[in-house]
Amino acid sequence: MNSNDAKHIAQQAASHESAHAAISQAAQSAGRAARSSTPAHGEFLTFRLGEEEYGIDILKVQEIRSYEQPTRIANAPTFIKGVVNLRGVIVPIVDLRIKLNCTSVEYTDLTVVIVLNVKGRVVGTVVDSVSDVLQLSQDAIKPAPDLSSSVDSSFITGIGCVKSGAEQRMLILMDIEALMSSEEMGLINSI
């Protein structure tokens, strides 16, 4: 690639960086402000996995980073991409798109990693894109229907309905902490 391409990508990354930075800020200040983290209602970070939009408790989000190729760990399940260096700390990276059997899994300059802080561990998850931080009131949340979604329904805490201009957005609200620390994820020693 020539230097112009590089500059262009850098610019894109930079604008994403600032968007990421903004969201990271929101996450951190939400964490600072709030006391209890009831997934029932509150602030959610929304992101896309393939066709579907998900929402997770903002308090579990530490920061957002661009995707960088992790160091592969042999014999790990395919959805565990490996580990990366996050300011001196070794953090595993999980690709939720693979775990949830999304049809297309690509790694582009726009691919994003949500760095989570769950159960005292720092874990990153790859998603297609991050949307925004939303405040959902209790009535905006409906109970999750009993559908065989790609996610084990025990991790789904509800469906959020938000009007975005003319659009009606349907957010699958997920208990990301429970999912990440579940045995099937294999992130934690089972001993």
Binding site: N75, A76, N85, G88, I90, N189
Partner: protein, 738 residues
């Protein structure tokens, strides 16, 4: 922290001195004294104890007593006082030491630890020392233990006040605290009244005091002269503070009255050098008449050539005139002063300053920072490699210096956390003594490699598993004296605990000459539990059966071990530390359990190798050699195993590409490289694509956020910021053995 309320605190708080700041030092000091005392008591030879041995034990108790009394820990002071009395008689040879005495003193040692723990906030019930105290007192009188005598008695009034040991005073004062309705013991208090506008008000107090029948006695301490408007009196009474305060506040405001315990005492020998003019005889201090330095004495005056009455001046004046006279150490007179500087400099390093107490957090932070420094240095080194050394000569030289300095710094810092195994071993003599006695066995405890060092973090984690192994040996391994003799063994069994370094690991072994493991028993037990245990099973595998949960072939479950919760937990603990456990046994002869642990070096020397397009790190300490290898030199054995010939020996080969399923590189090298590594007493040749280099790596924990990965001992961050996995050589070597 509860229980910090002490008598002295009130007194010194009044004077603005907070004693609590010295508590920590006292607790540490007391712990050391108790450890030392325990050690000495365990090692003492009853029949031929030397004067110095007994003196030394006495001093331990004495020292703890002094501090405890000063800082107001009356329970500790009381117990140590009794111990000290007994020990004093022993060191003066007024009593003969007996095993029973040693036992009681050891028990008292334990009780003291518990008391001190409570004072440090450990919580729990107060330690009941009634029986202990009774036993000790009985022994002081030459009697036997366990006499049901009540604890310290209250001394009679008046006369006794002066000559009673302060410890007795304390325990009595302890039984009649403020506001308590216990039967009164005599108390000696200092009353301070003021600042008063009219010092005559104080006299009113005295009158008032005298009007109350049986209140006690009051007399001035200041010969009627107030200083700074404050009058001082000595009160001897059986009343509690609150009663007295109620009385005094008739005439003066509460804030103007202070009652202080006069538990301390002092005295000047009238006429002694430096002693002040003889004043009111105090029970707790005194000056000797005519002693040098005694205040306002003839001698003090005579001692000075210039006629001033200041003892300090006298001293300095004396120095001036005697500068040319011989000094204490009879060194050459003229150079005495000059020489003084040098010995002072040397002597200025007392025993204490050879060590420094530092909090663990500070050390860990230091290690962390050094780790970051190493990463930064590696990054700089990597980036500066691209520069033309001819042009950037000074930079290159600087980088070389930096690397050396960083390495030295790293080694120094790592060694801070290393402590000798003797710290781990130290708890076992006592434990075994008690255990052997309980089980009626005779055990000789031997330690080897006390000086072997290991990381402090490991020490704490390894103590429990080791304790279990030692208990096991004593309980299930070593037989009773009768059994041993019947087998032709010596009455006393031997339990050996040893530690040594092997490569990057520490090996700790627990070995006994007891009855060992029974192969048959283990096999049948395994079969009972449905475990597949064919007769062809190797010995090593049979011994490993005891690691199965709930597995115990103990015939009788003692309360020591044998509930079968042991060995599997031991193995789990060791494995969690990244170590291994090996068992070896010979029925009838004994058993050995070897624990191998990686020395958790947060920073180590690594060799980076390329496998496919990936980079892996090998601990340099385990690398023996490396060489290029033609494919043809690798032979297959038994269909799956591969070996390579190294100097007419065949060594197993492990292809890292296979182990880690590394995708093939687009540009594989023409010839691959063999790296021979050694671990666990075995060698293996690892097949890699390229040797990348050697550097210091900071070992990062993979399990903090992820999990244990097979064949990987940790991770590191390379100069380019990427993560590289550090391989677990022991585990790879074990691969090859199957």
């Amino acid at each position: 922290m509860s229980n910090m309320n002490t008598d002295n605190n009130t007194a010194s708080a009044a004077a603005g001195i907070d004693l609590t700041q010295f508590y920590q030092v006292f607790f540490e000091e007391a712990a050391e004294n108790l450890d030392s005392m325990e050690q000495q008591l365990l090692n003492i030879d009853i029949t031929s104890a030397s004067d110095e041995d007994l003196n030394s034990i006495f001093r331990c108790a004495h020292s703890v007593k002094g501090g405890a009394a000063t800082f107001g820990f009356t329970d500790v002071a009381e117990l140590t006082h009794q111990m000290e009395t007994l020990l004093d008689k022993l060191r003066r040879r007024e009593l003969q030491a007996t095993v029973a005495m040693v036992d009681v003193l050891l028990q008292a040692d334990d009780a003291l630890r518990a008391q001190l723990a409570r004072h440090q906030g450990a919580g729990g019930d107060p330690v009941d020392t009634t029986n202990l105290l009774a036993s000790i007192r009985a022994m002081q009188g030459g009697g036997v233990a366990k006499v049901a005598v009540a604890a310290t008695t209250v001394a009679p009034a008046t006369v006794a006040v002066e000559s009673r040991a302060p410890a007795e005073l304390i325990s009595d004062l302890g039984t009649s605290p403020n506001g308590d309705s216990k039967p009164a013991a005599l108390r000696v208090l200092e009353l301070r009244v003021g600042p008063l506008n009219d010092v005559k008000d104080a006299d009113n107090l005295v009158d008032l005091f005298g009007e109350i029948v049986d209140l006690g006695s009051i007399e001035p301490l200041d010969a009627g002269q107030a200083s700074d408007g404050i009058r001082r009196f000595k009160i001897v009474t059986t009343s509690c503070d609150s009663e007295l305060m109620d009385l005094f506040t008739f005439h003066v405001a509460r804030e103007q009255v202070k009652l202080l315990e006069m538990t301390a005492g002092f005295g000047f020998h009238d006429g002694a050098p430096g002693a002040p003019a003889p004043s009111e005889p105090e029970p707790t201090y005194g000056f000797f008449d005519d002693a040098p330095g005694a205040p306002g004495t003839a001698h003090a005056a005579a001692g000075k050539p210039a006629g001033s009455t200041h003892p300090a001046d006298a001293a300095t004046a004396a120095t001036a005139t005697t500068a040319s006279n011989p000094t204490l150490s009879a060194s050459a007179p003229a150079s005495a002063e000059a020489k003084g500087a040098a010995p002072a400099a040397k002597a200025a390093a007392p025993i204490e300053s050879a060590t420094l107490r530092v909090s663990i957090e500070k050390v860990d932070q230091l290690i962390h920072l050094v780790g970051e420094l190493v990463i930064t240095q590696a990054m700089l080194a990597q980036n500066s490699q691209k520069l033309d050394p001819a042009l950037y000569q000074q930079l290159a030289a600087g980088m070389a210096d930096l690397e050396r300095n960083t390495r030295d710094l790293q080694e120094s810092v790592m060694s801070i956390r290393m402590i000798p195994m003797s710290m781990v071993f130290s708890r076992f003599p006592r434990m075994l003594r008690d255990l052997a006695a309980k089980l009626s066995k005779q055990v000789n405890f031997v330690t080897v490699g006390d000086a072997t060092e290991l990381d402090k973090g490991l020490v704490e984690k390894i103590t429990d598993p080791l304790t279990h192994l030692v208990r096991n040996s004593c309980d299930h391994g070593i037989e009773t004296p009768a059994e041993r003799v019947a087998k032709g063994k010596s009455e006393t069994g031997t339990l050996t605990l040893s530690a040594s370094h092997q490569g990057g690991t520490i090996v700790i072994e627990v070995r006994d000459d007891g009855k060992g493991l029974s192969r048959d028993k283990l096999l049948s037990k395994a079969r009972e539990r449905g475990i597949d245990a064919p007769d062809s099973m190797s010995d090593t595998d049979v011994w490993s059966l005891i690691f199965a949960p709930g597995f115990s072939t103990a015939d009788v479950v003692t309360d020591v071990s044998g509930r079968g919760v042991g060995m599997d937990v031991v193995k789990k603990n060791i494995t969690a530390l990244g170590g291994t456990v090996e068992i070896d046994s010979a029925e009838g002869y004994g058993m050995s359990v070897k624990v191998r642990l990686p020395l958790t070096l947060a920073i180590m020397d690594g060799m980076s190798v390329a496998v496919g397009d990936e980079c892996y790190i090998l601990p340099l300490a385990s690398v023996v050699e490396s060489f290029q290898v033609q494919p043809g030199l690798i032979k297959t054995v038994g269909g799956t195993g591969r070996v390579v010939e190294v100097r007419s020996e065949f060594m197993p080969v492990i292809d890292l590409e296979e182990v880690f399923h590394v995708p093939k590189s687009d540009t594989p090298p023409a010839t691959r490289i063999m790296v021979v590594v050694e671990a666990d007493g075995g060698q293996v040749a690892l097949l890699v694509d390229e040797l990348l280099g050697q550097q210091q790596v900071v070992v990062k924990n993979l399990e903090a956020n992820y999990r244990r990965v097979p064949d990987v001992s940790g991770a590191t961050i390379m100069g380019d910021g990427r993560v590289a996995l550090i391989l677990d050589v022991s585990s790879l070597v074990r691969h090859s053995r199957h």
